[in-house]
């Protein structure tokens, strides 16, 4: 049965329109990922509106192309100008930039390309193999377990985003509070709608996401001064394919980074940046006799970081597609993209939409093959993208934000929601509040609320229902620990 779906998924993914959208997505992802400050999250949030009228599979091809392309391309400025294009490429600097200083930037970029391919490919294979098993196990989950999972997703992202767990929790709970606006899903009561028809179906969370990641980031860039925010790259990075000795050196570490990065990426909240730092750190432990030493331009350091961060992309989709719990802020937006098409990520997806899922899986594998080809053939061109002045890009991005909000329902109300979210997001960033937990809160609120209320109804109001389910209890204890541990540490200090 699975083979049949894989074959059908491959046929769907290889349709010309799907391949065209993948390629377009990868090119857009590489364009934005190559420019420091343009994150994968922002790019996907801003360009999400282009998928509203596509069918779900084709929409996902475009978005996953952007995702993979941006995470890969973040390595290019990290290597060339010591500034990661996306946060997940921060660890690539350690060895990538020294290589660049030694005149080996082209070699470093090609190594990063191969490692990104290996890490990404392994992570999609892990997604294909493990997610049906997890989804099958999750079929036995009931309301208490789903409530516990939603709480866990929120607490863990709150604890790993930004410097302060309390700020992360405020941000996440704020997202949950915003999600309560609209008709109560159980009783039909109108909550906080202020008699506005546009609010009956709730706040459009995609408008909020565009505001938080597009508008707020735009405000931040203008505050920093975009006209002075320009880098110049004149290095020649063209050259042959990676040498056999480089491939021999990096393939084992890339494979290891791929496995570890997939595992880390599958933990809700742990994104590509954490995956890359951990895989890099592990590589330095695995290879104690590295020559040159790590941090002094070792290609295996570049490979470890790049395989780790790209592996997190497939890993992040495991909880997203199997449990409906986003692995990171990008997968939260991908959930939003699926919900627009009435596709509900979660355990039921494997029974309801197996063909769509396997199209996504095979399509994501193809995306990494394309990234390998484009990365190796076009390194010289991608490096030049860093020179694009941001003065041109930000006005167009802000215009795309507005049209993205309008395209949701064809009304201006969502544009105001987006703008309000942008102002709130900017103020929150100024005050050190991370924004990713807010997006997760928005996505997780319906899961958390419905399952909390259903659990309490089943137990006649007794919280014992969460204690008598071993799975729910363990997950809730982990959640409490995630929030309390930093607090205990702070008190001790």
């Amino acid at each position: 049965m699975t083979v049949q779906y894989v074959v059908q998924g491959a046929l769907n993914a290889m349709e010309p329109i799907s391949v065209g959208l993948m390629v377009l997505g990868i090119l857009l992802g590489i364009l934005m990922g190559s420019i420091p400050g343009m994150t994968a999250t922002m790019t996907i949030a801003v360009l999400l509106s282009f998928t509203f009228t596509l069918d779900p599979a084709n929409g996902m091809m475009l978005l996953l192309g952007i995702y993979g392309g941006a995470v890969y391309a973040g390595s290019i400025p990290a290597i060339l100008i010591r500034t990661p294009g996306t946060p997940s490429a921060a660890a690539t600097i350690f060895d990538g930039y020294p290589l660049s200083q030694q005149g080996d930037a082209g070699r470093a970029i090609r190594v990063a390309t191969v490692a990104s391919f290996v890490g990404g490919f392994i992570s999609v294979l892990a997604l294909m193999f493990f997610s049906p098993i997890i989804a099958d196990a999750a079929q036995n989950f009931r309301s208490p377990e789903f409530f516990a999972l939603a709480v866990f997703g929120l607490t863990i992202i709150a604890s790993v985003s930004g410097d302060s767990v309390t700020k992360g929790m405020v941000s996440g709970l704020l997202g949950m509070l915003v999600a309560t606006v609209g008709i109560d899903p159980i009783t039909g009561y109108h909550r906080f709608t202020f008699d506005l028809p546009a609010l009956l179906t709730g706040v459009e969370f995609i408008a909020v996401m565009i505001g938080l990641f597009g508008i707020a980031e735009g405000f931040r860039k203008y505050a920093q001064g975009i006209e002075s925010d320009r880098e110049r790259v004149d290095q020649d990075v063209s050259g042959p394919l990676p040498s056999l000795s480089d491939l021999k050196a990096i393939l084992p570490v890339s494979a290891g980074g791929g496995v570890l990065g997939s595992l880390i990426g599958s933990i809700p909240g742990a994104g590509g940046d954490i995956a890359a730092f951990i895989t890099y750190n592990e590589a330095t432990r695995w290879i104690s006799d590295a020559v040159p030493a790590f941090g002094e331009g070792n290609v295996r350091g570049v490979a470890a970081a790049e395989s780790g961060n790209n592996a997190s992309t497939g890993g992040a989709l495991i909880p997203t597609l199997t449990l409906g719990i986003p692995g990171d802020s990008v997968s939260a937006i991908l959930i939003g993209a699926l919900l627009v098409h009435d596709v509900n990520p979660g355990p039921g997806l494997y029974q309801d939409e197996p063909e769509l899922l396997y199209t996504i899986f095979v399509g994501f594998l193809l995306i990494y093959v394309f990234i390998l080809v484009f990365g190796l053939l076009g390194a010289g061109y991608w490096a030049r993208l860093i020179n694009i002045p941001k003065q041109f890009l930000w006005p167009i991005i802000l215009l795309l934000c507005v049209i993205g909000a309008i395209a949701l329902r064809g009304n201006l109300f969502d544009a105001w929601i987006m703008l309000g979210s942008g102002v709130l997001g900017y103020a929150m960033r100024l005050r050190g509040y991370p924004l990713a937990p807010m997006v997760l809160g928005l996505i997780l609120a319906p899961i958390a609320e419905e399952n909390l209320r259903r659990s309490l109804e089943l137990s006649n109001g007794s919280p014992d229902i969460f204690l008598t389910s071993p799975i729910a209890l363990v997950i809730l204890l982990l959640s409490v620990g995630t929030v309390l541990l930093p607090a205990v540490r702070a008190v001790r200090e």
Partner: protein, 171 residues
């Protein structure tokens, strides 16, 4: 010992603490208002429509208060940030959205993009004209004519004068 630390932290709260944490104070006030509003929802047992807003608001109050009392060092000084440019961009966005029902998407976007590009120090007239006419026209065709998104139309519907393209929806 923990109790003493909490008492010390509460003792440190002053007007200055509240002023230097405007967002935390704002979130607490909003949460209190939400709790007050949610308390008026119809009583549908313990687990009615008010439960979740009250639980999340209470959570916000607790964490925002802890954050404030903790004097978390991660807060940035707003005075260090030049809020002038974002305010200008915000103003342009507000003007753009307000004017869209009158000017329509196509013309409104041209003016908005032209103004924002000019504000972003783009001074080349050919470039300004090419981008501020070309990008909105391209987006108009993609969203309005291909994706069939209902874009705001001007009082004088000039965008209808643009040539049609074959429909490619439902890809």
């Amino acid at each position: 010992m923990v109790r003493q630390r909490i008492a010390d932290a509460i003792g440190r709260v002053s007007v200055g603490t509240l002023v230097s944490n405007p967002l935390s104070v704002g979130f607490i006030l909003v949460s209190l208002a939400v709790i007050a509003a949610a308390s008026t929802f119809p009583d549908d047992g313990l687990f009615g429509p008010s439960l979740f807003p009250i639980v999340t608001s209470a959570g916000i109050i607790v964490f925002a208060a802890v954050d404030m009392l903790n004097g978390s060092g991660s807060e940035l000084e707003v005075s260090d940030v030049d809020v002038g440019p974002p305010a200008v961009v915000f103003g342009l966005l507000v003007a753009y959205i307000v004017a869209m029902p009158v000017l329509g998407f196509w013309i409104g976007s041209m003016l908005f993009l032209g103004a924002l590009l000019y504000y972003s120090e783009i001074r080349s007239r050919p470039l300004l004209l090419a981008l501020s006419i070309g990008v909105p026209t391209l987006l108009f065709y993609i969203f309005g004519r291909i994706f069939l998104v209902r874009l705001p139309e001007a009082i004088v519907p000039v965008s209808r004068l643009l040539p049609q393209v074959p429909l490619v929806v439902g890809i």
